[in-house]
């Protein structure tokens, strides 16, 4: 009985060993979406001006190592944000391709919309002012608009005639 159990366990190990090992060194496509999400966060410092997703590992040694490290962390099951935090702790915010959404760097994200909001409010107020200013005039013309329809028709037919000359 015992023997059977051991044999069974051994069998299970043999069957699943492949997948265990594969899980250890799961190959990650450097151009896959999951890798992109992680690697795009980091700026390559070799002077290419690209991020570690775009940077070509054939021409840049720095990114080759960096990519390997990223894959290692991803295989360990680290989330995108955890990896991000890991690098920020070592290199500071300089390593990121876009500013953090906290502290002073938050202003980078927020200011455009604050300015846009304020400008929108200003535009609103200005239009309201102009509309109000004009509102008084409209009231006056409404009283006068008792002109008869015949006159209106003659007028529009004259305009039509004139317009045809220019077509």
């Amino acid at each position: 009985m015992r023997m059977k159990l051991y044999l069974g366990l051994l069998l299970i190990v043999i069957i699943f060993q492949g997948s265990f090992i594969r899980a250890e060194a799961k190959e990650i496509d450097y151009k896959s979406a999951e890798f992109k999400a992680v690697a795009q966060q980091f700026a390559c410092t070799c002077g290419c001006g690209q991020d570690h997703y775009e940077c070509d590992p054939n021409t840049c040694n720095l990114t080759t190592e960096f990519k390997k490290d990223l894959v290692e962390m991803m295989n360990k099951g680290w989330e995108k944000d955890k990896i991000r935090q890991y690098y920020v702790n070592i290199y500071g915010e300089e390593i990121l391709t876009s500013p953090e959404k906290s502290g002073f760097s938050l202003t980078a994200w927020v200011l455009p919309f604050v300015v846009l909001g304020l400008a929108a409010a200003a535009v609103f107020i200005i239009i309201r002012k102009w509309v109000k200013k004009n509102g008084n005039d409209v009231l006056l013309t409404e009283y006068q608009s008792t002109d008869d329809e015949v006159e209106q028709e003659i007028l529009s037919s004259m305009i039509d005639e004139e317009r045809k000359k220019y077509l």
Partner: protein, 660 residues
């Protein structure tokens, strides 16, 4: 040759200073002779700039390596076309090109038939002449194009292979034409302010010149994106690099101006705002140059770092302060406008919202571009502000812009009533909602894509209605066939329908951007000979790896056969080029385009055993982007073209007798 070439620059500087002084004197003493002398000086200046250009072309073409510029940017085996285009590969040469265009624009204005007898001409000339003095000064003392080497090298350093591409022949030329072009509306604006005369004629001329500059700026950016796409091998076309931003900002503000000036034309309002937009656009061109040439920001457009940028910053500062001073001194005059708005929901308001969004987008780009500097100044950390930032911040702003663009054409001037809104928007809105629902059902479920395409459906529908109603109204009176009616309608309202064509072009570009940004897939695989890579519907068979020699360059290429859904599309050759005189190799990608998508194949690396690594990418809807770009050009040209009918620019007689 050395003497002659340098003489063109220094004599040019002398002539520019002379012309500036004599025109100014002529204006202040109202002496036509002096002004004419200055205008003559303009031609001489143009000749100087042209001679300098010809000299440099000659030196480059004949590979005279005793000149530093020739050594730095060419080598003897370079094809002649790239020897010539190396003229704008470096600082000094590109500024010479800039100067040449400036002098060209100057004589085009001063001697144009339309401007004959116009008292604005001397003022415009003087303002442009200040620019010319600045540029000749730079060419003469800061970025000198004709400097001799101490020892004559036998071979030049060669042109960066990235720049050896047809896109690079035309991209800088169009971009500079756009940059310089924005100096013209600026000069018009300043002249109008000084003369206290912002009338219809001014609007027509300024608008025209702004469209010219805008068209070239658009072309410059499009060619730049196209070049990046085919040449850089990363499969993208826009990277929000500081230099790209530098040309995108004036594009946005110039677009805003082209729209808000319509309100000035119709309602005589927003004069101060319009002139401010022109000043901002002009300042942005100088600011962009400062960013690029000073090395304060890292950029892929690496120009040699020098103090050149500083001169541009100072010049910009002076120009902005002076123009603001002039604007303020005329403020009361401009403010006296017949401001009249009848409703919140009207074409007028929508133009204001359009301006708000365009300028807001420009500000966001500006802020993102300078934020690394701000951050460094405030807390000593130089952060990178890259693509993820700009994509996130700009997407909602530009998408709202698209919405306004969709709605605006059908809003009435003065006031849109509820009835009018329902009549105009019921069908387009229903179509958009049906379209969006269909997309979700069919599996396009990314929020940006659904909203974006929904807005574009709305835009297409409203624009179609606009054309349809125009044709219908015309036919009612003239009984023409629909095609004739459409044709006549359009050529009699060139600006309006040209504008709509541009709108449609922008819609196509946006569709391309949304498609390629949201639904691209990419893979990187190492395969042995005879093996294949599969991506979406494609199978790429790797057949052969070989090497060939082209001149002094070694080219490694792979033969790949591409199948889509089992059907053979052909054999293609992605290459890697190793240059004889350049360290970095570059990739020549294989692109298989179709209306639906592009297949983009890069040969990335290989091993001795024949295994090769490929990067394969599917970029949806790229052709839509290029088609949209083409429509923009057609639309802008259509609007500019002076047809037989209408658009007659009134000959200006002037408010008072002045020199002209």
């Amino acid at each position: 040759m050395y003497l002659f070439a340098n003489a063109t620059i220094y004599i040019g500087l002398a002539i520019a200073i002379y012309s500036l002084l004599i025109i100014t004197l002529g204006i202040s003493t109202k002496n036509q002779k002096l002004v004419d002398s200055g205008k003559g000086g303009m031609i001489a200046l143009f000749v100087c700039a042209a001679m300098a250009m010809i000299s440099l072309f000659y030196l480059l073409a004949t590979s005279q390596f005793q000149y530093e510029y020739v050594t730095d940017y060419t080598s003897s085996e370079l094809p002649i076309i790239y020897k010539l285009t190396a003229l704008w590969a470096g600082n000094a040469g590109s500024l010479l090109l800039w100067t040449f265009f400036l002098t060209l624009y100057m004589i085009m204005i001063a001697y144009s038939r339309k401007m004959k007898g116009n008292p604005m001409v001397p003022y415009i000339s003087a303002i442009l002449m200040v620019n010319a003095v600045f540029f000749f000064f730079i060419l003469g003392f800061v970025a000198k194009p004709f400097v001799l080497m101490d020892t004559v090298p036998t071979e030049g350093k060669g042109l960066n292979p990235m720049l050896q591409n047809p896109g690079m022949i035309i991209h800088p030329v169009t971009l500079y034409l756009g940059y310089v072009g924005l100096a013209v509306p600026f000069a018009f604006a300043m002249a109008a302010l000084i003369l206290k005369n912002v009338d219809d004629f001014w609007i027509k001329m300024t608008r025209r010149w702004t469209i010219v500059a805008w068209l070239f700026l658009s072309l410059g950016n499009i060619f730049g994106g196209q070049w990046a796409y085919v040449e850089l091998g990363w499969g993208g076309y826009w990277a929000w690099d500081p230099v790209e931003n530098a040309s995108f900002m004036p594009w946005l503000t110039a677009t805003a101006f082209l729209h808000s000036v319509m309100i000035q034309e119709r309602k005589n309002m927003l004069k101060v705002w319009n002139i401010s937009l022109i000043i901002i656009s002009y300042a942005m061109t100088l600011f962009g140059t400062f960013l690029v040439r000073s090395g304060v920001l890292t950029s892929v457009h690496a120009f040699a770092n020098s103090n050149l940028g500083l001169y541009f910053l100072i010049f910009m500062g002076v120009a902005v302060i002076l123009s603001l001073y002039i604007l303020m001194s005329r403020y009361n005059l401009l403010k006296r406008s017949a401001g009249e708005f009848n409703s919140f929901i009207s074409k007028e308001s929508s133009f204001l919202v359009n301006n708000l969004l365009l300028v807001g987008a420009a500000f966001a780009v500006f802020w993102g571009t300078i934020f690394p500097l701000v951050s460094e100044a405030v807390r000593g950390t130089k952060v990178t502000v890259g693509m993820p930032f700009f994509n996130k911040v700009e997407a909602p702003i530009l998408l709202s812009m698209m919405f306004v663009m969709a709605v605006c054409p059908l809003l009435a001037w003065q006031k849109s009533t509820v009835k009018n809104l329902r009549r105009n928007f019921m069908i387009p809105a229903i179509l958009a909602i049906i379209g969006m629902t269909l997309m979700v059902v069919l599996g396009i479920q990314k929020a940006w894509a659904v909203i974006g395409y929904g807005v574009i459906i709305l835009l297409l529908a409203t624009h179609f209605l606009e054309f349809y109603r125009g044709v219908k109204a015309r036919r009612k009176m003239t009984k023409e066939t629909p095609v004739v009616a459409l044709y006549r309608l359009m050529i009699r309202n060139r600006r309006r329908y040209g504008g709509y064509i541009v709108h449609l072009g922008i819609a196509f570009i946006t569709m391309g951007i949304i498609g390629s940004q949201n639904y691209d897939v990419e893979t990187m695989k190492t395969v042995g000979l005879g093996q294949s890579i599969e991506l979406r519907d494609y199978r790429i068979n790797y057949d052969r790896l070989d090497q060939k020699k082209e001149g002094i360059n070694d080219i490694v290429y792979a033969d790949v056969t591409v199948f889509r859904n089992g059907k053979k599309l052909g054999t293609f050759q992605p290459e890697k080029v190793f240059y004889g005189n350049w360290e970095q190799p570059s990739s020549e990608v294989a692109i298989i385009s179709s209306v639906k998508e592009d297949l983009y194949i890069v040969l990335s690396a290989w091993e001795d055993n024949g295994k090769a690594t490929f990067v394969v990418k599917v970029n949806p809807m790229m052709d839509w982007l290029w088609f949209g770009s083409f429509m923009i050009v057609i639309g802008a040209l259509f609007a500019l073209w002076n047809g037989k009918y209408g658009n007659v620019t009134p000959r200006y007689t002037g408010v008072r007798k002045e020199v002209s």
